[in-house]
Symmetry: C2
Subunit: 258 residues, 2 copies
């Protein structure tokens, strides 16, 4: 099943998603950008797509409209869009409720959320991206499943109320684990030590965690309740009160959870 | 340069290190275990190694004695060891000072610390393990470099005072990043969501972080100072005060560091 799709947005998600949809055989009819130049830039990666900075899609041939914009912009943009009859409007956000599309002119609404961290410079293999889907309309949900399935075998139907939990979990799994690496990097640089030394450990830790589960994979002074080492490390970190407190709190949480 | 080596300890490090040393052409003369049965089990992986539960090595042919035991046990074991003339005693710990070997009967002391997370069930590729070395004696340091070099091209000379910083950094990079995955897993399970959904995100996050550096790789609500989302997430976590506080504190630290 091939779809005609308009994409609203020119950020990282749109940048990767639009060419992937085309490669999967769909037609990307229009790219909307508030900044027309950015929309034009993205259409250069595509075959016959028009760039536009107007929200009037009444003449568009697209059936599915994908809002790939920042969370803050979703509601306002959805309300202002002029869409043709029988159109489906979806957004790609992990943290915005489907209700935010409720006042749009779309006939049907839904969520089409690729659960991945997109960066312009890095290629994304969509076959390994889980798509989280939602719609109150069964026909729409079926179409979103078919659309997702054309990109990836990983599809999950997740309701808005659970998407919040999922997003919080993703913050821990992605943003916070990355911040732990950042703090490690800073401690190394502070002492003139080469951060490269830690990379094999990081790779093995994450591989092991994904294979055995994080609980079983844990090691270190907090797991051993080695209070002497914890105290030494805490003192070492006294040049940055906030980081010392992060050390104390996470160590305590590890101790409490075994 | 091939060495005769005795290994003291039967834990995860000894379990992987002993066969690797043999494969690299060295001779593992003895395995010491307080629990003799465990030492015997490890010798079964080796060619001609003797298991022993005595600390008397006066008759041993080994030149290098590797203390691969828990941090707590190092000092006591070092003091009690009876070693032959001209022997080198090293330990494999990231967090114990070289001074702890100072009262031993060894002629020379040093550190031979493989910076990796060892688990019995998982194979370790030693060519990707950084070895952190230290000795006050230049001849000993040279021997330790040669020994490490027979296992891995990654060798660093790091003094005890810097090893503390390195260990703190490793706790953030390994134990704490793993704990972030654990918290993510728990949030998912609490809502009956499949943790598998998050794995592609985790793999991409860590790959990106190691490639671009953690600062540049960061994304998420804290980076965007999206206080509305942060507040919603914090409320969502109110079933566990400590985890909510971890969320708040790490988010604050991300906000403060951009």
């Amino acid at each position: 099943m091939k779809f005609k799709i308009a994409i609203l947005g020119t950020g990282n998600v749109a940048w990767h998603l639009a060419p992937a949809l085309e490669e999967a055989g769909h037609t990307v009819t229009e790219i909307y950008g508030r900044n027309l130049a950015k929309a034009v830039e993205l259409t250069k990666k595509l075959y016959t797509t028009e760039a536009q900075d107007s929200l009037d899609f009444s003449e568009s041939e697209a059936e599915i409209y994908i809002l790939a914009v920042s969370d803050q912009a979703i509601s306002e943009l959805a309300d202002a869009l002029i869409l043709p009859e029988e159109s489906i409007l979806v957004h790609t956000s992990g943290s915005v409720s489907m209700d935010m599309l409720g006042y749009s002119s779309a006939s049907y609404t839904g969520i089409f959320y690729p659960l991945q961290s997109f960066t312009k410079e890095r290629e994304i293999d969509f076959t390994e991206v889980p798509f989280l889907l939602e719609s109150d309309d069964q026909q729409t949900l079926l179409k979103l499943k078919k659309l997702a399935n054309s990109l990836s075998p990983l599809q999950y139907v997740v309701k808005s109320k659970d998407r919040m939990a999922l997003h919080v979990a993703a913050v821990f799994a992605s943003n916070f684990s990355n911040h732990m690496l950042r703090l490690a990097e800073e401690i190394m640089h502070r002492k003139g030590l080469d951060y490269e030394m830690l990379k094999p450990l990081i790779i093995e830790t994450i591989s092991k965690s994904l294979e055995l589960g994080a609980k079983k994979a844990q090691t270190g002074p907090a797991l051993r309740s080695d209070l002497n080492t914890l105290e030494l490390h805490h003192q070492f970190l006294n040049y940055n009160e906030q980081v010392a407190e992060i050390y104390r709190l996470i160590s305590q949480d590890i101790i409490d959870s075994y």
